[in-house]
Amino acid sequence: MSARRGFLALVGAGLLMLMPSLAHAVAIERIVSPSGIEAWLVREPAVPIIALNFSFAGGASQDAAEKAGTASLTTNMLDEGAGDLDSSAFHQRLERRAIEMSFSVGRDFTYGSLRTLNDNRDEATELLRLALNAPRFDAEPLERVRGQVLSMLRRASTDPNSLASRRWWATAFPGHPYGRESRGTLESVATIAADDLRDFTRRVFARDGLKIAIVGDIDAKAAGEMVDRVFGSLPAKGDLRPVPDVTMTGLGTRGVIDVDVPQAVVIFGAPGLARNDKDFMAGYIANHILGGGTFSSRLYNEVREKRGLAYGVSQSLVWFKHSAVVIGGTQVRADRTGDALSIIEQEVRRMGEAGPTAEELAKAKSYLKGSYILGLDTSTKIASQLIQIQNDNLGMDYMTRRDALIDAVTLDDVRRVSKRLFSQGLLVTVAGRPKGVTSVGQ
């Protein structure tokens, strides 16, 4: 359709101003394109560039087990030729105008990001339209990119980080797509054909699971036209394979993978919190106190600061559509791995039993409120946050509500959720030659 004739509707309140500290940073407009596609827009005239981020519902968990890596390979192929342009021509068009286009895949979503100088907006829009609507998946680039993925997987096959991590996820989610690595395996990637990539785009690249955020020197009308040109011709509905809800398994077990390296990689974790859990924010704070932040957490102090056992240790909440975990990692000297793991287990248990102190809670709240704005100081960061907020169903006013959500968390809330998160034991995997650590139940 001709986007130029379209009328751009500003829906609802339209312009949403944020709280004072965020107000002049992020003013989100909800726009609806002439063909009816919603996008969130932040106008920023100070820098002559535009960042457009988007996601489709459906990521690596859409892969069949024997074709694991299909979603990932698809995203790696989207800038390798589209429409009348073969791979070389497509890249030349991008390079001549310094247009940046990238795609990636998560467990539940497929992500894309476009960054262009404002002067090159038309060309950037056209190239992204081609990539999403008419990817070629020609044989030459397919074999080339497949070779690159296989090379990475070969490297990973002896890398202690990859080995420990792969074992952790496989043990936590046996038989479920979340247990597989998104990149696939040496065996599965070898079997993926161009038709598999086409099938993935057909099922996933659709308007019903689409979220869009645009940040930059562009008005609502032009943004709506841009949205329609890129996404307007995609099918209205995707065709996703259902992914079952799942709870991780393997608590209380420990797996050791023998690799001849001077330092052991340790990964540990347990079931986490769904993003819409009423205790999510309390859990987020509890995790911050135990293993988050930069130089402040209990794990950091006990493992690194007091004992010098490792360069880093940290833990995060990770949530998906159909499950959630809390997962941490460290790399420790082989001869003290047993000590380090005991300390980690002890600190997790202690948090589960008693929760944090009032002072720790106050400091964590202060940090989490104050630091949010630091994630909003570039166009790309803002666009990426807006996509996450949309996918997490937090609402356009989340940024304004967030401080109050944090303030509302009480010490009892954090104790309750700490007990839930940190009293269930841990699933542990270790890669290396650790002293004092043996496999248990794996």
Partner: protein, 504 residues
């Protein structure tokens, strides 16, 4: 981009409950005090203009740092101000009023290349120890204050500089300046904090180098490339020397080099120059200048005469690879226009799908899985230009090397096309505009340049200078500097029996 702390199954970088997009395969890189030390040698020696090498900080992979700050239409660029205090502290202010945030960085003009031989790793060790408290503020207080206000902080060490930074709400700038000025001279160290931290840096070495054969090869290649320059020593240090570093070593180094007249203050964000000047006078301005800091004169490289090779065999290597480094001028040592020509040359040879190496080796000849080139211009002394290639299965490193040599020879003999020149320059110049979107990146670029011999004006006019590069400049640079006698070639292989095959 791989992170140092890769949990390949994926862990979101933990800082954002409503925040960053989570991707499987994304690496985690937080809790890293010295966020930017590269596995091979220096830190920002690797990442400044054009070099597409990532830096980790705070769980974010900060992408390649583009060179320029001043965009095609220079008038559109940020109005950068610079001035000096009476005690010799240089100050750069980069206003960015889009978000009420500031990036506050202090850069010392001292790095691993300034260490006394035998004390490798000392500059970086001191960087860690700078978090251990002062007369005024006991250990941990500064970090606790930064955390309490929701700030981010970290530090980094390179061959030529050491830097400390905080990112905070604009209203907290003065507090950060007070703390940072305090630890410029007030550091207190005891063995009780020094010894555990020495274990930490040893584990950091294991994590970056010991667990990674490719990083070991890079370290060995630097030692072979730099025959006389201290750039041949790893920034992280050699293990046996790190094990002997003491409190007295650290304090001695600190007293010798940490002073206002040996530092650059960079403040980017929601501030005005006058405001920064007043705050800087109140804080850093009270620290007396130190009289005895000498000129930064290091041993220089002799004229190289022999092509060198380094082979690292490790049973963990499942993917062989080839690296090559050439000894070339840095921005500070280059003749006029030469560094800019090398920048364009690296782009034409090895950045992007249509670069000579990628197009030739990966797409057309199907010998390689990947191939690229890079140039590290930010350094006080002669530095590196690099090529790399990963062979396809059943292709030997010898075959790959022969093909790489042919690509280089063609550029030397026949030069580059007008189209290649324009495409590369467009990209490099556009990076200037993209950089304006990221205040922390601008701050890093100015800091790294000003501590490696460049001026504010040179940084500001970088894009203009790139624009004047000609095809003939690029060909001349290739002919002059990509001479095999100036190079070290590194082979990463699984076992030494492959060497016989390689040479056959």
């Amino acid at each position: 981009m791989p992170g140092y702390f890769g949990l390949a199954g994926g862990v979101r970088s933990g800082g954002c409950d409503g925040g960053s997009t989570w991707n499987a395969g994304m690496a985690m890189g937080k809790n890293v005090r010295m966020a930017m030390v590269s596995v091979t040698d220096s830190i920002l020696r690797r990442i400044m203009p054009g070099a597409a090498i990532a830096v980790l900080a705070f769980g974010l992979v900060l992408g390649p740092v583009p060179g320029p700050t001043v965009p095609a239409s220079a008038a559109d660029g940020p109005p950068v101000s610079s001035f000096s205090l009476a005690n010799g502290l240089d100050v750069v202010v980069i206003p960015d009023h889009r978000t009420p945030v500031v990036t506050h960085m202090i850069w010392y003009k001292v790095g691993a290349a300034d260490e006394t031989p035998g004390k490798s790793g000392l500059a970086h060790f001191l960087e860690h120890l700078m978090f251990k408290g002062t007369k005024e503020h006991p250990a941990g207080e500064f970090s606790q204050v930064v955390a309490a206000i929701g700030g981010q902080e970290n530090a980094f060490t390179a061959s030529d500089y050491t830097g400390y930074f905080q990112r905070v709400g604009r209203q907290h700038l003065k507090t950060m300046m007070e703390f940072e000025a305090d630890r410029m001279t007030g550091l207190i160290l005891t063995d009780a904090v020094v010894l555990p931290e020495r274990d930490v840096i040893l584990e950091e070495r294991n994590q970056r180098i010991g667990n990674n054969p490719g990083a070991q090869l890079s370290e060995q290649m630097d030692a072979a490339l730099f025959l006389n320059s201290p750039y041949g020593r790893p920034v992280i240090g050699w293990r046996h020397e790190m094990e002997e570093l003491s409190r007295d070593d650290a304090i001695g180094f600190y007293r010798r080099f940490y002073a206002p007249n040996n530092a650059v203050l960079v403040v980017a964000g929601d501030v005005e120059p006058d405001e920064v000047r007043a705050l800087a006078e109140e804080t850093y301005g009270k620290i007396p200048r130190r009289a005895d800091i000498g000129p930064r004169k290091r041993p220089q490289e002799p004229q190289p005469v022999a092509r060198r090779t380094v082979t690292l065999a490790d049973a963990r290597v499942e993917q062989p690879a080839l690296q090559r480094s050439y000894l070339v001028p840095s921005a500070a040592t280059a003749a006029k226009g030469e560094a800019e020509a090398l920048e364009v040359l690296a782009h034409v040879l090895g950045t992007g799908a249509n670069s000579r190496l990628y197009r030739g080796l990966v797409v057309d000849q199907k010998l390689a899985i990947n191939a690229g080139a890079w140039y590290l211009s930010n350094a006080l002394d002669m530095n590196k230009f690099g090529l790399s290639g990963t062979p396809r299965p059943n292709v030997t490193l010898t075959q790959l090397e022969t093909a790489i040599d042919a690509v280089v020879a063609t550029v030397i003999d026949k030069g580059i096309t007008a189209e290649e020149l324009e495409r590369s320059k467009t990209r490099l110049i556009a990076d200037a505009t993209y950089a304006q979107d990221n205040q922390a990146m601008l701050a890093r670029w100015f800091g790294a340049s000003l501590t490696t011999g460049s001026t504010v004006e040179e940084v500001r006019t970088w894009a203009q200078r790139i624009r004047t590069v000609t095809a003939s400049d690029v060909q001349s640079a290739a002919r002059k500097w990509l001479d095999a006698r100036r190079s070290v070639t590194g082979y990463l292989i699984k076992d030494m029996s492959e060497v016989a095959e390689k040479k056959s």
